[in-house]
């Protein structure tokens, strides 16, 4: 009993100090931009261009206003970003009008830019009080591109021109693009495209295939950096088949009303970007010749929006070995480690507070044990990413939904071990204590719980180790933690960056496991064999 209490005091102190240190845990959903202490939260999706635009917004706002900015980039896609600004967990992010129309509002595609913009502005304002600021001047739409030599050989620059010649070509098209009515089927209808051979390929692989000369034509996003790298020719959509995907800042109405200076700052970006520049910058990010902060700074300087960028002295991960990189990033990584620990400990603490009484209580009601354990077990089978995604509509983004998901994962081992430990604790000893006149409560407190303590703690230990691993996925919903370097490392295909998150995570798992193992030995009652 004393050992058990000590564990919880320890965990509580740790959690409290970590939460205090990072100030990240707990929602920031309340009070949109009212309290001056709350920074403006900028989010982005998990690809280069989204991060670049968000970083450009952030730098402009930092330079042109007195607001402080918190960056939470690399959220897992449109759904997460939208929920973030809708619930007030974030204030703004870069979005595309076509995505707003088709993916978010679920309306039919429309080719008139002005109409699309007008529709999304009206609907977003009415539904969620979200404001589309002026588009930035470029589109990241679908397009068909040809290898340079193919384009030269055919002398084709437009999709109308490609139509009659398409039979001669081999095409590599995205898995989705082959199916979507606003993809290949629509092109066949509008331009009479009919490639001699169509291969369905994953997005990144298409460029490799084009580079190797295995395909002649492919579908692209118009600002892909790879277009510049492989010297591809983007054909003009001369009949305006593809819906417009104009990039624009999407901002909470409440935030804009509180800080109209944001609109003034971002207005400087209105209409000044174009596809060629975006490809170049995206390529720089893909090739990791510079960080997103550097590229954003150079871009703003190139546009004349800020003074010429001062090159940062930080080296990118590519130039450095793993250890020097870890050393350079130590402050950042320490912060991520604390966030990670906070996610794990808070969720674990909640799971213990709920799970231990539940598991122990089930001993008296064994009828309910099976169905309850099965229900909790079912939660365990939901893939982590899916569970995190389910949490977003309920809890927004950030630490809250991550902690909720981790809590659910931690519940099963804790409840199951508490139940099994208590109900199977030395049956003869428990029965004789009962027969000699202990009350139910005395049998539980003085016999079953002390004997079950090692089993109960083993459940907590299992849950903790699972959570250290699973918490790396919390980066997808903006909860921070060691998943942040892991996710961005995966996107950059950079092993050093991945390891800068994965190694501390593994270390953390070992330490947490070691500490709990030591406590487990400590709570094992004297006289009971290990």
């Amino acid at each position: 009993m004393r050992g058990r209490a000590r564990v919880w005091v320890l965990a509580g102190v740790l959690a409290a100090s970590v939460v205090g240190a990072t100030g990240r845990v707990g929602g920031q959903e309340d009070g949109p931009a009212k309290a001056p202490a709350r920074p403006l939260v900028l989010v982005s999706k998990n690809f280069e261009e989204s991060r670049l635009l968000a970083e450009m917004f952030a730098q402009l706002i930092e330079r042109e206003t007195t607001l402080s900015v918190e960056r939470r980039f690399n959220l897992a896609g449109t759904q997460v970003c939208l929920e973030a600004v809708r619930t007030g967990a974030a204030d703004l992010y870069p979005e595309y009008t076509g995505t707003g129309l088709v993916s978010i509002l679920g309306l039919p595609a429309e080719t008139d830019r002005a109409k699309v913009l007008a529709t999304v502005r009206r609907e977003f304002a009415a539904k969620w009080d979200l404001v589309w600021l002026a588009p930035l001047g470029f589109e990241n739409s679908f397009a068909i591109a040809l290898r340079q030599e193919t384009a030269q050989r055919l002398g084709v620059t437009t999709l109308s021109g490609l139509g009659p010649r398409s039979k001669e070509l081999r095409a590599g098209l995205g898995l989705e693009f082959v199916q979507r009515p606003d993809g290949y089927p629509g092109l066949q209808e509008t331009y009479g495209l009919d490639f001699g051979e169509v291969r369905a390929l994953q997005h990144a692989l298409k460029y490799q295939a084009a580079g190797a000369g295995e395909i002649d034509a492919l579908d692209v996003y118009t600002t892909d950096g790879e277009i510049a790298r492989h010297g591809l020719v983007v054909l003009d959509d001369d009949r305006r088949f593809f819906p417009p995907y104009e990039a624009a800042p999407l901002v909470r109405g409440a935030t804009l009303r509180a800080h109209p200076e944001i609109a003034v700052a971002l207005a400087r970006l209105a209409g000044v970007l174009d596809e060629t520049r975006m490809r170049r910058w995206n390529l720089a990010l893909q090739e990791q010749t510079a960080t997103v902060e550097e590229v954003a700074e150079q871009a703003l300087a190139e546009l004349g929006l800020i003074d010429a960028a001062v090159r940062s002295t930080e080296s990118s991960a590519r130039d450095l070995g793993l250890l020097p990189y870890l050393w350079q990033e130590r402050a950042e990584l320490w912060g991520h480690t604390l966030e990670h620990l906070a996610l794990v400990l808070v969720s674990l603490l909640l799971a213990a507070v709920v799970g231990l009484p539940l598991g122990i209580g089930l001993e008296r009601h064994p009828r309910f044990a099976e169905p309850i354990l099965r229900a909790i077990g079912l939660l365990q089978t939901i893939p982590s990413i899916a569970l995190l995604a389910f949490m977003i509509p309920l809890l927004g983004i950030g630490a809250r939904p991550a902690i909720a998901a981790l809590f659910l994962y931690a519940l099963l081992p804790i409840v199951r071990n508490a139940y099994v430990g208590v109900s199977e604790a030395d049956p003869v000893a428990s029965d004789s204590a009962w027969a000699l006149g202990m009350t139910r409560g005395q049998v539980l407190r003085e016999v079953r719980l002390p004997l079950a303590a090692p089993t109960i703690l083993a459940g907590i230990r299992t849950a903790a180790v699972i959570n250290v691993g699973t918490a790396t996925l919390a980066a997808f919903i903006g909860a921070g933690g060691l998943g942040v370097p892991i996710v961005s490392g995966i996107q950059m295909a950079n092993a050093t960056v991945i390891l800068s998150g994965a190694l501390p995570a593994a270390g953390l798992a070992l330490i947490v496991d070691g500490v709990l193992a030591a406590i487990e030995r400590n709570v094992r009652p004297k006289g009971v064999r290990a």
Partner: protein, 252 residues
């Protein structure tokens, strides 16, 4: 039945079912003060059910369990059990408690002051031939099976109950320590005035220890008699067969 004539323990028309199966058919049974009654039978015969009815670990479906003529249905089961000694098979000692703490279990539940508990523990350990200074601080798993049973008996007697229930107390011991412990049990019994109900499946033990022996089979008492009477006049074919098998094996 007058108060002084009342049996120490009594089952009056008691029946108990488990899941539609009769663990104990309607039974009348009286155990006199100071008597040692041995319940013998195969597993499932109902002998443990009788024991658990006596200290209200089980409640009867019908009939009444009486202590000294009074129904125990009205008595608080927890204080009832504290007044009854209990020794299960293999001791049932709490593995995380020292020997001394195990022996002091019931006195401590009864809130005796600690010096009195301590003195009583030492006294009881000496009674079962264990040196209190050598054994008091040891944990049960460091003891032999025979030592564990001695501690269990010391624990059952610690608060000086007038009734002691033993559920196959020597069942898990090797033959030699079983025999030694039986001898000592007889000696202890003679020095204490206890009403004892002991469950076993061993006829030798039953005949050695019991003032009377009740043979149970499928939830019914086939015969209840002194060992001598039982051997002389088995009342049913089952009892006769049981005796025949036993003495043909030449165990006695």
């Amino acid at each position: 039945m007058g108060a002084e004539a009342a049996a120490a323990l009594e089952l009056a028309g008691v029946a108990k079912q488990f899941g539609g199966h009769a663990a104990l058919a309607r039974t009348d049974l009286a155990i006199a003060r100071g008597e040692c009654l041995v319940l013998i039978g195969e597993s499932g015969s109902g002998k443990s059910t009788v024991l658990r009815l006596l200290n209200r670990l089980l409640a009867p479906d019908s009939g009444e369990v009486r202590h000294n003529g009074r129904s125990i249905a009205a008595v608080d089961p927890v204080s009832l059990r504290r007044a009854i000694g209990y020794v299960p098979q293999d001791g049932g000692l709490l593995p995380h408690w020292t020997v001394a703490r195990n022996v002091g279990l019931v006195p401590r539940l009864l809130e005796w002051d600690s010096s009195r508990v301590e003195a009583r523990c030492a006294e009881m350990l000496r009674f079962v031939d264990l040196d209190p200074t050598a054994f008091g601080r040891r944990y049960p798993r460091t003891l032999s099976g025979g030592q564990r049973q001695r501690v269990a008996i010391a624990r059952a007697l610690a608060a000086d109950p007038s009734v002691v229930l033993l559920d196959e107390p020597f069942g898990a011991l090797d033959a030699l320590s079983r025999d030694a412990l039986r001898q000592e049990f007889r000696r202890w019994r003679a020095s204490l005035e206890k009403t004892i109900v002991l469950v076993t499946h061993d006829l030798t033990e039953a005949f050695q220890l019991g003032d009377r022996v009740a043979v149970l089979r499928a939830g019914q008492i086939e015969q209840i008699a002194t060992p001598t009477e039982l051997r002389a006049r088995p009342a049913t074919e089952y009892v006769a067969r049981l005796l025949a098998v036993h003495f043909a094996g030449g165990v006695e």
